[in-house]
Symmetry: C2
Subunit: 443 residues, 2 copies
């Protein structure tokens, strides 16, 4: 995320962190090169459009810690990073409330052109009331309405990407001084419940046309949406056992359509198990309590300030009227002398600390339940990535768990080798012919 | 413009043009380096969000010629080009109908951070009905309404850029693990007639905070807007004599506020006057008639198809009922055997063909009426820029008409050396204090 502090709150202050230099292009160039050296498929940029303000009903802890705030626009980094890499993909998040589909479709096509087809879109509907307020919606449209908007939004951009310019519309004929054939460029005439877009699309067809499509929503509605649209999915399971039914459900929703599934993982590497655990514990102790309370308050939809974060866990266990979410948390504690704040910090930063071999075992365990890959979350950047590339990747490679070289072609072809650069014709984005009325003028 | 063909229609097909490679990052990197070698202040990206469709009431000629269509999103090129240059500025156009002020303000701040303060915004309201349709407004809001929106829009983004984060809000205190002081970061609470934005701004203060502000509107309303807001202005005068009263009027509207004024100029360079004129004539003859009719139909608000573009000028002169715009055109013709189409092509491509000395004389003539600089329009890219840099710039430099080195600092400091990187306190963007309610939560 284009921000000082993403997941591991407080650790931007570590001496080996360059997270404070998040506005320096060199920081990102270095990271992209490192990821390509480690054969990562893609960098993934998360994004939010408002500071978290659940904890203490205030955004003060968020601002204090630089926790996913401030945050830059990740899209403008991508051509720069693509220029310094050859194969790495660039996935970024943009919620469907942020921008009208017409200019968004152009931005995405521009990125796909400039990167040679290495861009992916993580489709989100946002969950932050503040984002809805900041974007002029008055507040956040309710969940079902957001997904109805998302469906309308993707239909509009699909038409622009897939159904405006025919494959042979562009001629580049110097002798006739003809750039394109007007009869093969079409208005899309989208009039949906939320969005109207006439077109034609402002971009000629890019290598992938539709970027590789990621999704992350885990509600029933979100999973159905992913089943229809996504080619890759982030799920939030914390163990292979709990992931297995989710994976099965996602694959069922996708109805045979190919979909790559990723889980978030954070690692602390050591040359021995003991060393790794010691490092992890030391890092955890240097993490801030407030930042973690602020982050977990958002994701558990609960203001931990109301429970008294300084209260020892043992005392809370005996308190009547504690919410189910807090009780689940308390039951996860293995130390009664922790405060609630310390417990939240621990729960919010569970990571695998171990040797490269132990981490490779874990990757195998995920794979055994049908998970395709890991979304590596940094503890300290760039240390986490460098350690993974230098120490874990060689072990994964020896076990055949990571690619030895990139597949040729676009990001979609790297995800699905041999598939071609376009979405399959069975995907809903392509289930529509060109409209044959290229000479008409709308409006 | 991020497109195959900007002004000189048809010449993308010349053998020395790389305009077809407009989606190749290398094209733009080469151009940016060339411009920096020539001591240009800034690259300027124009932009439109719909194909021109006045001529023949169709966008077919536009699509045929690749005339300002397709067009990429220029903003995502900027960090890449900034990485390959040290001083050059990057000015891009974004109309206020395109994007909500909140994410736009973030994009601009991100660009200002990533470029070290070398970005400028050309504020436009768009004149294309197609853009209004494509952006979901149903059509184009009327002129006065667009400027009322623009006023509201800039007030919203000014508040985010100038009045959300205090100068000393960011601490980056590793010892306390404190990124920023929440009491010095403010919601902006903008509730205008068109836009609501609460904030706080998603970006910490960038080098310029508010980007350098360009404007181009030449109506009375547009000029008043420029007088209030712009630090640089494109005017469309074609002679120094006609520019003089415009310059005076703009400076009056600016009421003593500093403002840089630029005129569009296209040059064809020769080692003799005769050679330059011959080259210009040859280029003109290879230009397309249709493309120029399509472009001039838009800018003269007149469909030249209705007048019979194949009709000889001499015949049209004697035809009753010819419109005033066409009659003005006809009176500009110096050859009766031209067709209307050829005449429009000629009028739409008037450029100065001459030796570097003759071009330098022209620059002096512009300067003598208070014009600050030239917006160099290419005839063929990159040839026009290379010829200008290699042959005209040395003459301009010898006469003290072009900078010998860049001033240090941000783009604003390069435009106004010694001024500091921020807008002056007298600018309306800064005429407002911080609101002291940092701990409150909105909504």
């Amino acid at each position: 995320m284009f921000t000082p502090s993403h997941h591991a709150q407080g650790l931007w202050a570590e001496p080996d962190s360059n997270q404070l230099a998040y506005n320096d292009p060199a920081t990102w160039i270095e990271l992209a090169r490192l990821c390509e050296r480690g054969m990562f498929d893609t960098i993934f940029f998360a994004d939010v459009l408002a500071p978290y303000d659940t904890y203490q009903q205030s955004r003060d802890a968020t601002v204090f810690e630089g926790m996913q705030f401030p945050t830059g626009d990740p899209s403008v980094l991508i051509p720069l990073l693509a220029h310094h890499t050859e194969h790495l993909g660039f996935t970024f998040t943009q919620n469907i409330l942020q921008e009208h589909p017409y200019p968004f479709a152009r931005k995405m096509s521009t990125l796909d052109h400039l990167t040679g087809g290495r861009v992916a879109w993580n489709i989100v509907t946002t969950f932050l009331p503040g984002a809805g307020r900041n974007l002029g919606y008055g507040g956040l449209p309710e969940h079902g309405d957001r997904y109805a908007r998302a469906e309308d939004y993707v239909q509009a951009v699909y038409k622009l990407w897939e159904h405006s310019w025919e494959d042979d519309a562009v001629l580049r004929d110097r002798a006739r001084r003809q750039f394109a054939d007007p009869a093969k460029v079409h208005e899309v005439d989208h009039e949906g419940p939320y969005y109207t877009v006439y077109g034609p699309h402002l971009s000629e067809p890019s290598p992938q046309r539709t970027p590789l499509l990621f999704q992350a929503g885990m509600s029933g509605t979100g999973r159905a949406f992913a089943g229809r649209h996504a080619e890759a999915l982030f799920i939030s399971s914390t163990t292979p056992e709990s992931a297995a039914p989710v994976v099965a459900d996602v694959r069922r929703a996708a109805a045979g359509r190919r979909i790559r599934i990723f889980v978030p993982q954070a690692y602390v590497v050591g040359s021995t198990e003991a060393e790794a655990r010691r490092r992890d514990t030391e890092l955890l102790e240097r993490q801030t309590v407030e930042g973690n309370l602020a982050r977990m308050s958002v994701f558990l939809h609960h203001d931990f300030a109301t429970d008294g974060p300084d209260t020892p866990v043992g005392e809370l266990r005996n308190r009547p009227g504690v919410s189910r979410q807090v009780r689940d948390l308390l039951n996860a504690a293995d130390r009664d002398d922790w405060t609630l704040g310390e417990l939240v910090r621990w729960v919010g930063n569970r990571r695998l600390a171990g040797t490269p071999e132990r981490i490779a075992d874990s990757v195998e365990a995920w794979q055994s339940v049908g998970v395709d890959g890991v979304n590596l979350q940094y503890v300290v950047s760039p240390t986490t990535f460098a350690e993974f590339v230098d120490h874990v990747v060689p072990v994964l490679r020896a076990r055949g768990l990571v690619q030895r070289e990139y597949a040729p072609g676009t990001l979609r072809e790297k995800f699905f080798p041999g598939s071609g650069s376009r979405l399959p014709v069975s995907h809903p984005a392509r289930a529509r012919g060109f409209r044959r009325w290229g000479n008409n003028l709308k409006g």
